[in-house]
C-alpha cells in the first residue's frame, strides 16, 4: 500500500512540507512535533505509523528530516509524492541560506535575530520532548519497551554513542530473536 490517496495534490504535499521545513529549527528531531501535528490534522499519516517512519528513516544514511520527507511523501503519493515532499522540506532552507549568503551577510550577529533565537531555542527543546511522551504512551506498553527506551536514551545522550550503531545492534538482535521464535512456533 504505497499510495494512500490519489486525491492529495502534489502542490498540497509540497506546501505542507515547505511549512514544516520552514519551522524545523535545530535539526531533524525538531521536525517531529510539527510533522506529527500536520500529518495528524490532515489524517495523512497516523500516530501509529510515525514511529516506524522515524525508525526506518534514521536507519538510512543522510539527513533525517529529508529521509522522513521522502518516506512520508511516498506513503502519500508514491515517488512523485516523495519528490514533492523533499523539495518542500529543502526549498525554504535553500532560499533563506541564499539570502543570508548574498544579502544579510551579518545575519548571525544581528541583535534582533539573536533575541528572537534566544526565545525560540528553549521552546524547541520542549517541542522535541513532547512527542517522546506521546509516543511512549503508544508504543511502550511493556517493561521491555521501557528498558530499550531508557538504554537508548542514556547511551546516546550521555555516552555519546551514535544512534545508528544502536539501531543496527537492535535490528540484528530482534531479527534473530523473532526468527528463532517463528521457527519454534512453526515447528510445533
Amino acid at each position: 500500500m504505497p499510495i494512500k490517496n490519489e486525491m492529495i495534490s502534489l502542490w498540497k504535499i509540497f506546501g505542507v512540507f515547505a511549512t514544516i521545513g520552514a519551522f524545523t529549527i535545530g535539526g531533524g528531531y525538531a521536525m517531529i512535533p510539527i510533522i506529527q501535528n500536520e500529518m495528524d490534522k490532515r489524517g495523512w499519516i497516523s500516530e501509529e505509523e510515525l514511529p516506524d517512519i522515524i525508525a526506518l528513516s534514521q536507519s538510512a544514511p543522510g539527513i533525517l528530516a529529508v529521509n522522513i520527507s521522502i518516506f512520508a511523501g511516498y506513503r502519500l503519493r508514491g515517488i512523485k509524492g516523495s519528490i514533492a515532499a523533499t523539495l518542500g522540506t529543502i526549498i525554504p532552507s535553500f532560499i533563506i541560506i541564499l539570502l543570508i549568503a548574498m544579502v544579510f551577510t551579518n545575519f548571525k550577529d544581528n541583535p534582533v535575530v539573536i533575541r528572537i533565537f534566544k526565545g525560540i531555542r528553549p521552546v524547541v527543546v520542549s517541542l522535541i520532548a513532547v512527542p517522546m511522551v506521546n509516543m511512549a504512551k503508544k508504543s511502550n506498553t511493556t517493561w521491555w519497551a521501557w528498558l530499550i527506551t531508557i538504554l537508548t536514551m542514556v547511551l546516546v545522550a550521555f555516552i555519546e554513542i551514535s544512534p545508528i550503531y544502536i539501531l543496527l545492534v537492535l535490528i540484528v538482535i530482534s531479527f534473530t530473536v523473532t526468527y528463532l521464535r517463528e521457527q519454534k512456533e512453526s515447528g510445533k
Binding site: A55, I63, S82, I97
Partner: protein, 202 residues
C-alpha cells in the same frame, strides 16, 4: 570552472552516503572534506556557516550544504548565478543518496508491513525511537564531556548555556511544554510565540 561543480557534486554525494545519524553527524564529514581535504573554506568561515545553519530554519545538513556550495564558488570570484548553481549542486548531491536508499526501504516497508519477523524487529525499534527523541532533547539541555585518559577519565555534565542561559529560558521551556502536551497547541504557533517572547524579554 566545470570541474569545481563536478567536485562539489561528488564530494557532497559521498557525504550523503556516509552520513549516519542525522545532520550533526554530517557537519563533521563536511568539515573533513571541505575544510581539510579540499581546503575550499577555512576553519573560521566553516564555524560561522555551522552557526548560521543551526540558527536558520530547515534541516542543518541542507543549510550547511547550501551555504558551503555558495561559498566555494564565491571564493573563486564567481558571480551570484554561478554561486547559486554551486549551492544547487551541493544540495542535490547530498540528498540524492538518501533518495535512492529511502525509496528502497519504503518499498520494503510496504511489502513487509504485515510480516511477523518485520513486525518483531519494529517492536524493538519503536521504543528505541522514543529513546532517540528523548536523547535529542537531553543533548539540547545537557552537555556531557569526557576528558582525561581512558583510565582516569572525568565525566562532566553541564547545562547547555546557549539554549538555557537564564531562568527566563526555563520559563519559556515550561510554558511551551505545558501548552504542547496538555493543550495540544500547534507547534508552529509555539515557535512563533517563542520568537516574539525572546524579542520582548531579552
Amino acid at each position: 570552472m566545470i570541474t569545481i561543480f563536478i567536485q562539489l557534486f561528488i564530494t557532497f554525494f559521498v557525504i550523503g552516503i556516509f552520513t549516519f545519524g542525522g545532520g550533526y553527524a554530517m557537519l563533521s564529514l563536511i568539515q573533513a572534506q571541505v575544510v581539510v581535504a579540499h581546503a575550499w573554506i577555512d576553519e573560521s568561515t566553516f564555524t560561522d556557516i555551522v552557526a548560521i545553519s543551526q540558527m536558520t530554519p530547515g534541516p542543518i545538513g541542507i543549510n550547511c550544504a547550501t551555504y558551503v556550495g555558495y561559498d566555494v564558488l564565491a571564493k573563486t570570484g564567481a558571480g551570484h548565478l554561478l554561486c547559486i548553481l554551486g549551492s544547487l549542486s551541493a544540495t542535490v548531491a547530498v540528498v540524492l543518496p538518501s533518495f535512492i536508499i529511502v525509496l528502497a526501504i519504503v518499498k520494503m516497508y510496504a511489502k513487509l508491513n504485515h510480516n511477523a519477523i518485520f513486525e518483531g524487529v519494529m517492536s524493538w525499534l519503536r521504543p528505541a525511537v522514543v529513546g532517540l527523541i528523548g536523547a535529542a532533547a537531553i543533548i539540547l539541555i545537557f552537555n556531557s564531556t569526557w576528558s582525561g585518559t581512558p583510565l582516569f577519565s572525568q565525566y562532566d555534565i553541564k547545562v547547555v548555556s546557549e539554549n538555557f542561559p537564564d531562568w527566563k529560558s526555563w520559563a519559556l521551556f515550561a510554558g511551551a511544554f505545558i501548552s504542547s502536551l496538555w493543550f495540544k497547541a500547534n507547534p508552529i504557533l509555539i515557535i512563533i510565540l517563542g520568537g516574539i517572547a525572546g524579542l520582548l524579554i531579552y
